[in-house]
């Protein structure tokens, strides 16, 4: 099938399958899946700028479906999602400006690659340690009868409690997430950092935002996944608009990919019902490692995906 906007020939079945895989990951982990979509589009000869912009457009559609499904399961905190969208958009702009500054300095590829390796590895190692420790301590604890999968515990909980107790005005409550009081600035900071890495490393940066929501803000994992998806709808819509104006979006490719993502996202969302928070976090660990493998490969071979 010929896509005239990006001037490429791609088999639509390939796009549907890629969309389906990313849909499952997105529905289950609350990530955009750009670490797969970007390279998958590049592999078919789509220019890098189109791969980034088109991926964002596809993320909007997939996240709408997954967020709606999560909302029916009670996994979306709308209030938190709206606040986070502001920080994410600001952070994404700051990240994009940092890229421009590095481009002018002439060392953008090296800096971005090393930052990506350190950040992805850091997240993976930390989540592996935390979820493993939580699961081990859960085994020692007597199981309450009728305990729900959504009841979440974390070995990092004591630090989270301290962060929640920081009194920096204005304080807000998040009843859906079970948080009585938290500073709005902490929410904005977490979303700004997520947005910064989204603009700096590309994609939706769900691999940073979802763990941050759990460990820094203290949001239960199921709610973090659902709320992250809702927030991605807003921030990725903004990204799609700006990229489309710059001529980086082939909406026809995004529409075809999205047909597979719809089914995948629904499977991913349903699957979260069968796993407790720490198990979802443990299963999340390989995702940033895929990102590390791709960056290391590009550094060694010089081949750009």
């Amino acid at each position: 099938m010929f896509f005239p906007i990006s001037n490429t020939h791609i088999n639509p079945i390939y796009l549907v399958v890629v969309g389906f895989i990313i849909g499952i990951l997105g529905g289950f982990f609350g990530v955009g899946g750009s670490f797969i979509a970007g390279p998958a589009l590049r592999l078919m000869g789509v220019d890098w700028n189109y791969a980034v912009g088109t991926d964002l457009a596809h993320i909007v559609g997939k996240s709408i479906v997954a967020a709606r499904q999560h909302r029916t399961l009670g996994n979306v905190d709308l209030k938190l999602g709206f606040f986070m969208a502001f920080g994410t958009i600001g952070g994404a702009e700051a990240g994009a400006q940092m890229i421009q500054a590095l481009k002018r300095a002439g060392n953008v590829n090296t800096v971005v690659s090393w930052v990506a390796i350190v950040v992805y590895l850091g997240i993976s190692v930390f989540m592996l340690w935390e979820s493993y420790k939580t699961l081990r301590s859960d085994k020692k604890r007597p199981r309450r009868k009728g305990a729900e999968l959504k009841e979440d515990r974390s070995s990092f909980g004591h630090v989270t409690k301290k962060i929640q107790r920081l009194k920096i005005w204005p304080m807000i409550d998040l009843p859906t997430s079970g948080i009585r009081q938290i500073s709005l600035w902490i929410i904005l900071l977490v979303s700004f950092v997520g947005g910064f890495f989204s603009g700096f490393l590309g994609g939706g940066a769900g691999y940073i935002r979802m763990p941050s929501m759990v460990y820094v803000l203290g949001i239960p994992t199921h709610l973090a996944v659902g709320t992250d998806l809702f927030e991605i709808v807003i921030s990725a819509s903004y990204g799609t608009l700006t990229h489309a104006i710059k001529g980086n979006v082939d909406i026809l490719i995004a529409l075809v990919m999205h047909t597979g993502a719809v089914v995948g996202a629904q499977i991913g969302v349903v699957a979260t019902q069968y796993f407790a928070g720490p198990k979802i976090r443990l299963a999340f660990v390989p995702l940033p490692l895929i990102g590390v493998a791709i960056v290391v490969y590009t550094l060694i071979t010089g081949h750009k995906f």
Partner: protein
């Protein structure tokens, strides 16, 4: 696999088959018709293209979500 799980898998397989037919029709009709128009819009009116692109992906998400949810509900009721 118990009876309920077997039923769910069967319903899902049928849903996928119907969905695949609908998507194939969609590719050949809608995308074929829209392709040339979107291409011209992208080269001549970038801002309009950006708004149309975002509206299309949001619209498709809403419609496909409704279609898959309807198919799943309809098929589950029929197999009861």
């Amino acid at each position: 696999m118990n009876k309920a799980e077997t039923k769910s898998v069967r319903v899902f397989a049928i849903e996928l088959a119907i969905y695949a037919v609908l998507v194939t029709v969609y590719f050949f009709l809608v995308l074929h018709l829209l392709g040339e128009w979107l291409y011209r819009l992208e080269t001549q009116h970038r801002i309009t293209y950006a708004v149309v692109a975002l509206s299309l992906i949001i619209g498709q998400a809403v419609v496909l979500d409704a279609v898959t949810s309807f198919l799943f509900r309809f098929l589950r009721r029929r197999w009861k």
